[in-house]
């Protein structure tokens, strides 16, 4: 079972720092990582990807995070990402943006990465994500703090949000999203934390770190395949025309 760290923010302009981070991840025995460029990159070059791949033995994937405040900006920005080869994720406090993002087939994932965002998770978004086969993302970064009050609040909020998501049968993933490398942990340890502190069943927690992430990556790869019409429908070459 391959486990993923689904969100590691990196500066793609600074390859030395990136290499340091990746080496640290190797030390922690992380095998699959999804990198999120911090700079406003619209397309990641294949040469740059190859260069990054040569730095490490870890399997690397990419995602783009769109932090959007209002609907106008969302509609304008999302046009740039038509048929995009990486994971597209939207993060917004605005409920209208969340609903539109959940409805839009170009958006792969809606992120609830902090306390405020987690509180804004609505039934509508859950239902649309379920219909659209897209994903919801929760992060464990708010848990890794020293202040006990804030920590318990964060755990409580995550518990509520994840329980609602499991109940609605929507797809979701859990990522680390740690800004300090000394907060990074192996996904196996994060699964244990989710199980013991947040109360997610062990099988569900494992799914959120492996199976669901693989599904998300497959969704993005299938988008590039012209022969796939929609989920579960593939056009087959070589068949004779009927009628």
């Amino acid at each position: 079972m391959s486990l993923f760290e689904s969100r590691l923010r990196v500066n793609l302009d600074n390859l030395i720092e990136l290499e340091k981070k990746l080496k640290f991840c190797e030390k922690l025995r992380i095998k699959n990582i999804i990198l999120e460029p911090q700079n406003d990159i619209i397309k990641i070059n294949n040469e740059l990807k190859q260069e990054i791949n040569d730095l490490t033995s870890i399997n690397i994937y990419y995602r783009i995070n769109l932090k959007i405040e209002n609907l106008k900006v969302f509609k304008k920005k999302i046009q740039l990402y038509h048929n995009y080869p990486e994971i597209i994720c939207v993060e917004s406090l605005n409920p209208d943006v969340q609903i539109h993002a959940a409805r839009d087939s170009r958006v792969d994932m809606i992120s609830y990465a902090n306390l405020k965002l987690t509180k804004s998770l609505s039934k509508g978004v859950l239902s649309l994500v379920n219909q659209n086969n897209s994903f919801i993302e929760f992060t464990l970064a708010p848990i890794m703090i020293e202040n006990k009050t804030l920590q318990s609040k964060a755990i409580r909020n995550l518990y509520r949000a994840i329980k609602r998501t499991i109940h609605s049968k929507s797809n979701y993933i859990i990522s680390g999203d740690f800004s300090n490398i000394y907060d990074l942990r192996n996904p196996k340890a994060l699964i244990s934390i989710c199980h013991t502190l947040i109360g997610i069943p062990l099988s569900e927690a494992r799914k959120a770190f492996s199976y669901n992430v693989l599904n998300l990556i497959n969704r993005v790869q299938n988008r590039q395949d012209n022969m796939i019409y929609e989920k579960g429908v593939r056009l087959i070459k070589g068949d004779k025309e009927i009628g």
């Binding site: 000394y182 907060d183 942990r185 196996k188 340890a189 934390i193 199980h195 013991t196 502190l197 062990l202």
Partner: protein
């Protein structure tokens, strides 16, 4: 007849932010504090936690505990953030049911 409690062993690695010195007791206290903080008395008395081996120069250790509390121990170790104000990560490498096997794995890793 009461079943005998099964044991588990975890081999863990310690990653320090800066090379600094702390002794065995300080590390054990940090682990116990983490368990107390997150899980409390009701869990602590069922754990049966023992440090079997600890090498602070090579940054690894082996602990023994009851098999029921495997996930709790892994998360408590992972939730340790600092020792004496310096950032550390205690990362579990391997869990096993026998001390023989965990020592074999330790040898392979430390080669």
């Amino acid at each position: 007849m009461v079943k005998q409690e099964r044991k588990r062993y975890i081999l863990f690695n310690i990653i320090n932010e800066t090379p600094h010195r702390y002794n065995k007791i300080e590390l054990i206290n940090v682990i116990w504090n983490s368990i107390w903080r997150y899980y409390g008395l009701s869990v602590v008395n069922k754990m049966g936690l023992w440090i079997i081996d600890l090498n602070l120069e090579k940054n690894y250790g082996i602990i023994k505990f009851s098999h029921n509390s495997k996930e709790l121990i892994i998360s408590a170790l992972s939730l340790v953030r600092e020792i004496k104000g310096k950032r550390v990560i205690i990362t579990p490498i391997k869990t096993s049911g026998t001390i023989k096997k965990i020592k074999k794995i330790k040898k392979e890793i430390l080669k």
